[in-house]
Symmetry: C2
Subunit: 258 residues, 2 copies
Amino acid sequence: MQFFAKLTDKLSSMTKELRRSNCTNAEWLGRVDCAHCQIRKLMLFSDLPETAFDDVLQPIDHFIFAPGTTLYEIGGDDRVIYSIRQGLVKLLHYSDDGTRRIVRMLGPRASIGLELLDGLEGYRHTAVTVNKVDACRIPLATVEELQSRHPELCNQIRQHLQNHLDRADEWIIALGAGPARERIAHLLLMQGELSADPNGDIALLGREDMAAIVGISVETVSRIVAEFKRGHLLYKVAEDLYRYDREALQAIARAAAD
Amino acid sequence: MQFFAKLTDKLSSMTKELRRSNCTNAEWLGRVDCAHCQIRKLMLFSDLPETAFDDVLQPIDHFIFAPGTTLYEIGGDDRVIYSIRQGLVKLLHYSDDGTRRIVRMLGPRASIGLELLDGLEGYRHTAVTVNKVDACRIPLATVEELQSRHPELCNQIRQHLQNHLDRADEWIIALGAGPARERIAHLLLMQGELSADPNGDIALLGREDMAAIVGISVETVSRIVAEFKRGHLLYKVAEDLYRYDREALQAIARAAAD
DNA sequence: CGAGGGGTTGACGCCGATCAAAGCTGGTGG
DNA sequence: CCACCAGCTTTGATCGGCGTCAACCCCTCG
C-alpha cells in the first residue's frame, strides 16, 4: 500500500517534470536522502544536522537534466527551488522584441529560485540548463519547514542571495561595459574561475549565449573568439574543452575595465 | 557619570563620521529611538516589536549627510550599515584605470552595507550620497544582536537583499544593453518610479553620474538629454525638478529592449 | 573680474551592428 | 555509403552610432 503510494508519487513527479521540460527529457534519479548526501556540507543545507531531514513533509527529488531543459519560466511559480550539484544553468530574461539577455550563469553549489521565498511575484527569470545538469529539486514548503525548525538556515539562504548579488554586480562591472574584446576576455576568465576543472579549462558556450551574456552581436563574438583562437590565447585541449592564456586575457581585460 | 559616557560617545561618533566623510560634513541628529520611529514600519526593522530596542548594546545614530558624502569605501569594514530614510545613495565601483561605474542607486527604505553580515570581505562597493541624505547608521553588532533575539528579522533582511538583487537584474537588462537613447529613457523612467514625488517628477542626475550608470560617454548622455529637452519629452517644472512624457519615453525604451 | 566646474555642441574616426554568403558538422533518409 | 539539409560558426562588406578631442557657454564662487 505504502509502496503504491510512493510509486504513484514518483510517477507524478516525473511526468510533471517532463511536462515542464519543453525541450528534452529529465532523468529522475530518485528521492533524496539529504542526511547522507555526500556533498550536503557544500550546499544550501550545510548547517543543518542530519536529523533535520527525518520528517519533512514534501520530498526532495534528484534529477539529471539534459542540456537546454527549461527548469522554470519567468513569472511562473512551481513552488520549488533547485540546488545545483553539477553543470551550468543560465538565468535569462526575454525582452518583448524577442531579444534574450542572460543575467546570470550558475554552477555547482548555487541555489536558484530562492526569490519565491519573497512572496507572490513568482520566478524572476527563466532558468535553462546549459550542460547536462545534476540538481536537486526542493519544494519551497520544505525549505520553509526546515527554516522554521532551524532558524540558522536563514543565514545560509542569506549567503546564497548575497552570492547572487555579488555575481550580478560583477556582471554589471565586467561584462556590461567596455569594448567587446574586453568583455569576452572577462567572460572567459569568469568561466575559468567558475570551472570545476583544476586547470581552469572551460567548455566554450555557444556564440549566441555569449552574445546574450555580454550584450553584443553574435558575429562580433564569433570574430573575437576566432581571433583569440588564431592568436593561441585559446586552444582546444579535448573535445568541448578549451584552455586559455590567462596572462594574455587578463591583459586584455585590464585594458580599460577592471 | 552615565551622562558623560553618553556624551563622549556621541562626540566620538560625530568626529569619526566627519573623518570618514571626505567631501562634506554630516549633521548628527541624535541617538535614535527606534521604538518610537515614525517610519519604522517601512524599514528594515518593521517586524520587530517596540520592546526589541530597549537594551541594544550599541546605539543607532541618525544623520543628515550632505550631497557627495562617502558613507563607506569598497573593501572597508566600518561595522555599520545604513538605513536610508530620505534621499539617494549611489553604489559605485572604480576600475583600475579610474573609470567609475555606478552599480546601483538606492533611495528611501533601502538598507546598504548588509554584505557585511556575510563575513570578512568588507563592503562590496563605495557608497556616496547623491542628494542630501537622511539615514540611520546601525552598528552591525546591533543587527546581529537583534537577529539573535528575533529570528524573524532574518526574513526582513532577506527581502532587502532580494530587492537589491531585483534592482541589479533590472540594471543589467534595462541599462546594460541597447542603444544609448533607450538606456537613458529607461533610466529616467526608473528614476520616476523610484521618486517619492506623486507626479513622478525627478531630479536629474549629473551627466557624469548618468554616464557611469548606463555605461556610455558623458557627451552622448548630454546630447540625448538635451535632445529630450528640445523635444519636450523632458521639461523643468521647478528648480532641480523635471517632468517627463512617460508615453514617449516608454516608446523609446520599448524600441528594442524591455 | 578671472578661474573653475558642469553642460552643450561640433567634427571626425573607429568599433561594432547589420546584411549576406560561404565553410563545417552532425543528423536523416534514400 | 552518399546526398542532402539544418544549424552553427566564420568571414567579408558596408554603414551608422557613439567615443574622442576640442571649443564654447553658463553659472557660481573666490
